[in-house]
């Protein structure tokens, strides 16, 4: 019996070993070594902002020539340059680094609430259940859907209940933009400091009643801008970043102080 046992296990081991050895030769997948190298320089958080299933899939697509060298949005120019080095190609243009910006600073003291929401702590749920507790239908709800969506820990809810992006950590992958049910997160050029921090499309009178830091579409910024970079559309001011030169004259003129922009001032305004 002992002999049988030893023989059976031994034989099985031999057979399987031989089979695996043959199979690994026969079914070997020829892979381009550049795939591994490209994969190594990609961020590796599998955020999916590039449109592929993950960093592995993007690395294969880049090497196969199906994806652009700068397809990794999260990696930005730095990763794009490294990928171009590996692929032995040149980048046509250097894409500008973008960061996400939450266009609302209406914290608990500044925005009126029409009631208290005590349901599931999720922005999406709050919007479905009676459009959220705030008077303003364009304001940050502060339940942190964007915080949970961020793969880089770059967005947080301030003590005042408004989401604030940490521009140093943000890679502009766009996950928070997609997660926000109000659509008030936008990708803006990282070099620019001056932004309109409101999305309220109500008329000025209505906005004024809802929030003390809401854009009332008074046009003061439009007149103040020497470059003609600001326009008011749908009762809210909008900056054309291709024209704006960060002079901040508009911020000085804004009566509700909703145009500001230095990172510190965004945080201070939101907290």
């Amino acid at each position: 019996m002992l002999i049988y046992a030893i023989a059976t296990m031994g034989l099985m081991g031999l057979i399987f070993g031989a089979l695996l050895a043959v199979a690994s030769k026969k079914f070997a997948v020829a892979s381009d070594e550049r795939v591994g190298k490209v994969r190594a320089v990609l961020p590796g958080v599998n955020c999916g902002a590039c449109g592929y299933a993950g960093c592995d899939a993007l690395a294969e697509a880049i090497v196969a020539g199906k994806a652009a060298l700068d397809a990794c949005k999260a990696g930005g120019p730095r990763v794009a340059e490294k990928v171009a080095d590996i692929m032995g190609a040149k980048l046509d243009k250097h894409p500008e680094r973008m960061v996400a910006l939450v266009k609302c600073v209406g914290n608990k003291d500044k925005t009126k609430y029409r009631g208290e929401y005590s349901g599931v702590p999720s922005c999406r749920a709050a919007v479905m259940a009676g459009n959220g507790p705030k008077d303003c239908l364009y304001g940050c709800l502060g339940f942190g859907d964007c915080v949970r969506a961020c793969p880089f820990d770059a967005i947080h809810i301030s003590p005042g209940g408004v989401a604030v992006v940490d521009a140093d950590k943000c890679t502009a992958c766009g996950k928070c933009v997609a997660a926000c049910p109000r659509g008030i997160i936008e990708l803006v050029p990282a070099s620019h400091k001056v932004h309109v921090l409101c999305m309220n499309q109500e008329k000025g009178v209505v906005t004024r009643k809802q929030c003390t830091v809401g854009c009332i579409a008074c046009q003061a910024c439009v007149r103040a801008c020497p470059k003609g970079a600001i326009s008011v559309q749908n009762n809210v001011a909008k900056i054309d970043y291709s024209k704006c030169d960060d002079c901040a004259l508009c911020a000085a003129k804004c009566p509700v102080k909703v145009i500001s922009g230095r990172k510190e001032s965004v945080e201070a305004a939101a907290s």
Binding site: M9, G13, L20
Partner: protein, 205 residues
């Protein structure tokens, strides 16, 4: 060929003796994988596939090698593990080459379940008579073994998917801080298990 008997075997494996919720086998993967529905689907596919093939292999191994030689009683676990592990490795190589899409869908879960307890349990039960604590040592025929394994695998997938859906919902629910994460998951699992005990003794199975 008694259809009724197949139906009973399937129902027993799928629901009444559900491998996760009644017998608590393979809890590690149950709690580890169920954090999102997406991963649960991949894991379920891999488990169904691997279970079916490994049960067939162990059934043949028991009936044609171990039993006739009289060495099954003490050699069944190591030899079954060997067979399943070797098969999963082979399979991984094979589908990586022939079906990259399928490999992407369940590729990373294949090595994970090489010696998954559920796979080994199902493979052992269909092969070795009397392994389950039944009053009689029942000897499965091959078709019965397939039906039983399929039932176990589907039971695993169903429990995993339902649990994953619940956990995604619990993640955003206002749970007391001390209960967040695994504690509330264990409570949920035990409640699901309690619900399934209602089926115990159905059709005398």
């Amino acid at each position: 060929m008694d259809l009724n008997r197949y139906f009973l075997i399937f129902l027993a494996a799928f629901l009444i003796q559900n491998i996760l919720l009644i017998r608590f086998i393979a809890l590690c993967s149950f709690f580890g994988i169920s954090t999102s529905v997406e991963t649960s689907v991949g894991m379920s596919l891999a488990v169904i596939f691997v279970m079916m093939v490994s049960s067939t292999l162990t059934w043949a191994l028991w009936n044609f090698v171990l039993e006739p030689l009289g060495i099954g009683e003490f050699l069944y676990i190591p030899s079954f593990i060997l067979v399943i592990a070797a098969f999963v490795q082979l399979e991984e190589l094979f589908i990586k080459k022939t079906a990259p899409a399928l490999y992407k869908a369940m590729g990373i879960y294949l090595p994970l379940i090489t010696t998954n307890c559920a796979v080994l349990a199902a493979a052992t039960e269909v092969a070795k008579p009397g392994f389950i604590k039944l009053s009689v040592a029942y000897h499965y025929t091959l078709p019965e073994a397939w039906v039983y394994t399929f039932g176990v695998a589907l039971g695993y997938s169903a429990a995993l998917l339902v649990f994953a859906t619940l956990r995604e919902r619990i993640d955003i629910a206002p749970v007391p801080p001390a209960m967040k994460g695994y504690p509330i998951a264990f409570i949920t699992a035990s409640l699901m298990s309690l619900a399934l005990t209602g089926f115990a003794g159905l059709f005398g199975v």
